[in-house]
């Protein structure tokens, strides 16, 4: 092990070529993951979260133009030769994709699918040691090792998601990127899967980047949270604080969307955020959240706000932070 910093993303820009001009999905993102740390990335669909995740392993589609640095253990993934990159994928860093339910090959047994990355990285492995490794991996994610002989359709959603995690762990990665690992799972299975993930970080000291639109899940599991909107970071800080006392209005809206059970203020007043994220191809000059922002004012329109430090240890990109709000009372959002 070298330094504590495992992954450092510096000023990353990713843009897709489309028929209607370039689509900037990620616009200047900085993010750091230390060993033994879980970093959450939150935002709605279309905010650039999944693009960010796939770029970490250089899995972005060929139509994408990338600039900036993705330093994995100090080496830039974007400029690596193919051989080095292959060594990093799976063994250095692995990814648990969104929608596990459809990511497994339906005609192969679970065991064979877990064995695949093992064999790719070490073709000399014998039958015996592969079987042992598969058993150990299944056990680690809380599945019966006999499940290795099952086909994906014989497993429930939560079990398939665990298989995906077992695959991601097969080559002992130092970094795990998990893209919406619990979306579509019910609460109890979600709790089980989150327990498996946090156990890994505690016991093996891996670093983890976890992507979700559910701020309450991230708050429960992560050390720090980065909130993205329209391809940029709008807030970054300690997980509990970003969820319970967000300073950017967008984080505030995400946090309010998942009520605390027992909070009288949330009874019969579900909080939503009207509108949709902007089309990244035609962004306005000012703050890209302003059209949907309950606190938007004149001052938000001329230029895009920069990420600045507020309080200790917290950053946000909003010019209205700390400003009085004489015109608007905090209002509940009606449908």
């Amino acid at each position: 092990m070298s330094t504590a910093t495992l992954l450092a993303i510096r000023d990353l820009h990713v843009s897709y070529a489309t028929g209607e001009g370039p689509l900037p999905a990620v616009r200047g993102v900085d993010l750091t993951v230390e060993r033994g740390q879980i970093v959450g990335v939150a935002g709605e669909s279309g905010c650039g979260k999944s693009t960010l995740a796939s770029t970490v392993l250089r899995l972005q589609p060929p139509s994408a133009t990338v600039s900036g640095e993705v330093l994995f253990d100090g080496h830039d993934v974007m400029t690596m030769r193919w051989g080095e990159l292959r060594a990093v994928r799976w063994a250095g860093a692995s990814i648990v994709f969104q929608g596990a339910l459809h990511s497994l090959n339906p005609v192969h047994r679970i065991g064979a699918q877990i064995a695949e990355p093992l064999l790719v990285h070490d073709p000399s492995l014998g039958r015996r040691s592969i079987d042992e490794r598969i058993e150990a991996l299944l056990d680690q994610v809380g599945l019966d090792p006999a499940r290795a002989r099952s086909y994906p359709h014989q497993l429930s959603g939560g079990q398939k998601q665990r298989v995906m995690i077992a695959m991601a762990l097969a080559c002992d990665p130092e970094l795990v990127v998990a893209d919406e690992p619990t979306t579509a799972l019910d609460v109890m299975v979600q709790a089980q899967v989150l327990g498996v993930l946090s156990g890994l970080v505690r016991e093996r000291g891996v670093g983890m980047m976890m992507i979700s639109h559910d701020l309450s899940v991230l708050a429960e599991l992560c050390d720090r949270i980065t909130v993205m909107y329209a391809g940029r970071v709008v807030e970054e800080g300690p997980a509990g604080k970003v969820f319970s006392a967000p300073i950017h209005p967008y984080s505030g809206a995400l946090s309010a969307a998942f009520p605390r059970v027992g909070d009288p203020a949330a009874r019969f007043s579900p909080a939503g955020l009207p509108g949709d994220p902007p089309d990244p191809r035609n962004l306005s000059a000012g703050c890209s959240f302003a059209p949907r922002c309950p606190r938007a004012a004149e001052i938000c329109l001329p230029a895009e706000p920069v990420l600045t430090t507020h309080l200790d240890d917290r950053m946000a990109a909003c010019v209205r932070i700390g400003q009085p709000d004489p015109l608007r009372e905090p209002t509940e959002v009606a449908g």
Binding site: E44, V189, A191, H213, D214, P270, G335
Partner: protein, 342 residues
């Protein structure tokens, strides 16, 4: 649209639904479920995947035929003839899970919403044009201006808009009750609140009753008047949302609640494994193999009953807080005895 004149209720009593697996075993998807939903109230039906929530919702509109038990609407038992079901579904509309899959990709928004009007021949009766009725349904579902969406196809809409189109399709026939299966589980955090607010507004403005099927207790806290918790084909706890979620009685409800993220005040009780196979419902209390109270020894005094004695079906009581659990029942008996002796 005018609010309904009288308040009708949809009642399921002792519903049993069975499916035969390929191996010839019988899976009891519903094993005696009781539920009441009245017009003008929001009821949440919650439980893990595999608890039978969706089967119950489908049985309530006659899409699944029960092996035993009865569904009544407005005091009359469900008439299973094609005509009977058609007239029931004019009053009680089902909004399916997954808006991307439930809309026909080759139909415009207008066609999708107008379909119900045509099936039920409502245009002639209303004295309005079809355009006006479709527009009214779309704007009730919060899609404004409605005319702009008439000729759009589902792929041109966002997830939230698709969900609203589905709700508009249901509202077009002016039902008294809406059954929504996981209405927000596939939607983004920001849209979630919008759709829930829409359901509440429909209740206010149209006096609509809503049954929401969900695994999300936060959603229930957000909008439901009452809540019914299902486990393995039966309702195990039901009552007013405030009572059930702030002082849950059943160990299963307690466990579900403790794993909702950010419930700091509760020690998480993560149940091992998943709901058992419905072809092999455990003897005694159906929850006993996973019950944390039984495992910890807390339920020692009733352990025999938990393992051997099955519990009666929880009656659908629209006003009280009820729970099917040997431990809770024995504590209640002890409390009552104390009161008598004191």
């Amino acid at each position: 649209m005018t609010p309904p004149q009288r308040s009708a209720e949809l009642v399921a009593s002792g519903l049993r639904v069975e499916f035969t697996t390929r191996a010839g075993r019988v899976a009891k998807a519903l094993d005696g479920a009781d539920l009441v939903v009245r017009a003008g109230e929001v009821v949440a039906l919650v439980g893990e995947s595999g608890s039978g929530k969706t089967t119950l919702a489908r049985s309530l509109v006659g899409l699944t035929k029960p092996a035993a038990g009865e569904v009544t609407w407005d005091g009359k038992p469900m008439n299973r003839s094609a005509r009977g079901l058609k007239s029931l579904r004019r009053q009680v509309q089902l909004v399916l899970q997954d808006p991307s899959g439930a809309l026909n990709p080759r139909q415009t928004v207008y066609e999708s919403v107008a379909e119900g009007l045509r099936v039920h021949k409502l245009v002639a009766r209303s004295g309005k044009t079809e355009d006006e009725l479709v527009a009214a349904a779309l704007s009730s579902a919060g899609l404004r201006p409605p005319e702009g969406l008439f000729l759009r196809y589902p792929h041109e809409l966002s997830g939230g808009q698709r969900q609203r189109v589905l709700i508009a399709g249901a509202l077009a026939v002016q039902p008294q009750l809406l059954i929504a299966d996981e209405p927000v589980s596939s939607l983004d955090a920001s849209i979630r609140g919008e759709i829930l607010a829409l359901l509440l507004r429909l209740r206010e403005e149209l006096g609509l009753g809503v049954l929401v099927v969900t695994h999300d207790l936060g959603l229930a806290w957000n909008i439901a008047d009452r809540i019914a918790v299902m486990y393995l084909g039966r309702v195990v706890e039901s009552g007013p949302t405030e009572e059930v979620l702030t002082s849950p009685q059943h160990p299963y409800t307690q466990a579900l609640l403790s794993v909702v993220p950010e419930m700091e005040r509760l020690e998480p009780i993560v149940l091992r494994g998943e709901i058992p196979d419905p072809t092999r419902i455990p003897r005694g209390c159906r929850f006993h193999p996973r019950c944390p109270a039984l495992a910890s020894g807390e339920a020692d005094e009733v352990a025999d009953a938990c393992r051997r004695t099955s519990l009666p079906i929880l009656p659908s009581d629209p006003d009280g807080h009820r729970c099917a659990c040997h431990l809770v029942a024995s504590r209640a008996r002890a409390d009552a005895a104390d009161e008598v002796s004191a």
